[in-house]
């Protein structure tokens, strides 16, 4: 793969160059200590060295709130919203967020394709950047290394003297055409990334684990501090559930059909007519959330559907951690299996001595 050197002082120039090719989106500081993806207006305000953004780039393909159509009750006509597929360049994306988009492509491309999502996904280029894992990242444990290039057109590896830019696709090469402030890179040694937070089980063994932990006492235990605020769902880059509402104008003649993100930790998510709720307790909801990440979809795709971004852990005010849940489930499962097998052995030895 071709790789070139980009000096730190040329990053803003590169962004300006990219802006001539399409609308550029990149991480910016937000609030006191956070970051968010925004449309770039001033290339100098872009931050490529960040831990994670509040929301992933999912928001550009499945907006938090979205108008699906407008209708008139006088004429009985409706009109769908136009979605334009203008060229868009996403700069400074971490590998786990890129993988999350590829996973959503699967979810929304299957069966009855989600046309709004797919339309928004057209004409997009992705430029990745490496990151230093913090206490919440665990993407490597779910099979996504920092330098996972899948999905990217270009990838920036950060090191002391700037960036090594890997040209991953033809499209990536085109993005750099006519941009002169690059120099051929010398030998770059690989960088190793340390993850302090990890699943204590290989992700290949997760499907097996989740065949056995449905009735585990761990669900109750880890949900004791949960208040069901839904934050873990709403910051997750692979959660895609939404709710649709009809909103009527005050004239009572016209209205809109709108959708917004929803989450399985929330009260009305599993509520049905007649006032029943088939996942009443927070423990049942946590179990469902985790099964959605490691079992239900994974059984079909063979991959964990959690990308290890750590957002749900970082933003849980109660301090609930998906990594801790999985590790506890594993410990608890291994213990019960051990007890079962010891019992079996004891039984066998008792029987043989009889």
């Amino acid at each position: 793969m071709k790789s070139i050197h980009l000096a730190p002082e040329n990053v803003s120039d590169l962004i300006r160059h990219l802006q001539t090719l399409g609308k550029v989106f990149a991480p910016h500081p937000k609030g006191d200590t956070s970051f968010s993806f925004e449309t770039v207006s001033d290339p100098d305000s872009v931050v490529l060295d960040y831990n994670r953004t509040l929301q992933s780039i999912k928001k550009y393909f499945l907006p938090p709130r979205e108008r699906l159509m407008s209708y008139s009750m006088e004429t009985n006509q409706y009109e769908k919203e136009e979605i334009s597929a203008e060229p868009r360049i996403f700069l400074g994306v971490h590998s786990y967020d890129m993988q999350a988009v590829l996973k959503l492509d699967f979810n929304f491309g299957q069966g009855n394709p989600e046309l709004n999502y797919l339309k928004r996904r057209e004409n997009c280029s992705f430029i990745g950047v490496s990151f230093t894992p913090d206490d919440y990242h665990f993407s490597q444990s779910v099979g996504i290394p920092v330098e996972d290039l899948k999905g990217f057109d270009l990838f920036f590896r950060k090191h002391e003297s700037g960036y090594t830019v890997f040209v991953v696709t033809k499209k990536g090469e085109e993005l750099l055409q006519d941009f002169s402030s690059l120099s051929d890179t010398g030998f770059e040694s690989d960088i190793s990334y340390e993850f302090s937070t990890q699943l204590s089980i290989n992700y290949n063994r997760l499907p097996e684990l989740f065949n056995h932990v449905w009735d585990s006492p761990v669900w109750e235990e880890v949900s004791r501090n949960c208040v069901g605020c839904g934050t873990c769902n709403l910051v997750c880059p692979t959660c895609y559930c939404f709710n649709v509402e009809d909103n009527v104008e005050l004239s009572l003649k016209t209205g809109t059909r709108d959708r917004h993100w929803d989450g399985c930790m929330l009260n009305s998510f599993a509520a049905v007519a007649g006032g029943e709720n088939f996942r009443e307790s927070y423990a049942e909801r946590q179990r469902h959330r985790i099964y959605r990440k490691f079992k239900y979809i994974s059984d079909v795709t063979g991959e964990p559907w959690c990308v290890g971004c750590g957002r749900c852990i970082a933003s849980c005010t109660a301090g609930i951690s998906i990594v801790e849940i999985v590790n506890k489930l594993k410990d608890e499962y291994e213990q019960t299996r051990l007890i079962k097998s010891t019992n079996k052995q004891e039984r066998a030895s008792v029987e043989s001595s009889m």
Binding site: L54, V227, E245, W261, L266, E280, S315
Partner: protein
């Protein structure tokens, strides 16, 4: 079709919710297109015998309130509690945390026996309430949503998710990240997270979500630096009234 007859009543409150209705401004004339207002003390003098829709502001806090709310309920086809005081008891119900005698004395001094008083409770503790519009002051978008639904004859959508949802949809930086503590995780949404969006932590004015776990929330508040006493005061500010079904 005749326009529905609508009336507004105030009980123990600051009348801020009624004022907020007059603040509808851009929508006020459109709202008036659909209804006949037959009673609204803050805006007019007329009185009527019956109502299609009665909006109630304020909590119930005296024997006279009890009598009056029964009378209104008898004459109203649909009754709606408006704002925190009417729907959840609100700030007024902090009174309930003290012995009623000392409250009377603090307010009325030696004349305390001239003014009989009760614990401050929401309208639904006395009569059937058909719908509730939350907030201190009441949320205008929610008022319009309920209003349109009623005129169209359908059930309004009632939010039972917490304020956190609205912050996340707006990609607000969490106020806990800024070293504040916020009641967003268990407070009923529908305000579009207006306070957190402007850097003010949520005080819980819209009441708690239906199955709010106050113990778990207290733990969160304490984990982020409040003492037991401070955490309990935060939770009680708007939510001192606890109905039986809300007790965990």
């Amino acid at each position: 079709m005749a326009k529905p007859k609508v009336a507004f009543f105030d009980f123990t409150s600051c009348e801020g919710c009624q004022l907020n209705k007059l603040n509808l401004e851009n929508h006020l004339l459109d709202v008036l297109e659909h209804i006949d207002i037959v009673e609204f003390r803050e805006a007019m003098d007329d009185k009527a015998d019956e109502y299609d829709i009665a909006f109630i502001e304020g909590s119930i806090s005296t024997p006279q309130c009890v009598e009056r709310i029964h009378d209104i309920r008898r004459r109203a086809k649909t009754l709606i509690a408006l704002g925190s005081c009417a729907s959840i008891g609100g700030i007024n119900s902090m009174k309930n945390l003290q012995p009623i005698e000392s409250v009377r004395e603090a307010v009325y001094g030696k004349d305390k026996y001239l003014f009989p008083t009760l614990p401050a409770i929401p309208v639904s503790a006395i009569v059937k309430v058909d719908y509730e519009i939350y907030g201190c002051p009441m949320s205008i978008p929610e008022f319009l949503q309920v209003f349109k639904s009623l005129i169209m004859g359908k059930a309004p959508i009632k939010s039972d998710s917490p304020v956190c949802v609205e912050c996340k949809l707006k990609e607000n930086e969490c106020l806990f990240e800024r070293g504040m503590v916020c009641l967003g995780p268990i407070t009923r949404s529908g305000c579009d997270a207006i306070c957190p969006s402007f850097g003010q932590f949520c005080t819980g004015c819209r009441g708690l979500v239906p199955n709010a776990d106050k113990n778990a929330m207290t733990d969160i508040l304490m984990k982020h630096g409040l003492s037991t006493d401070e955490a309990s005061k935060r939770l009680l500010m708007f939510n001192s009234y606890v109905s039986d079904e809300m007790v965990n």
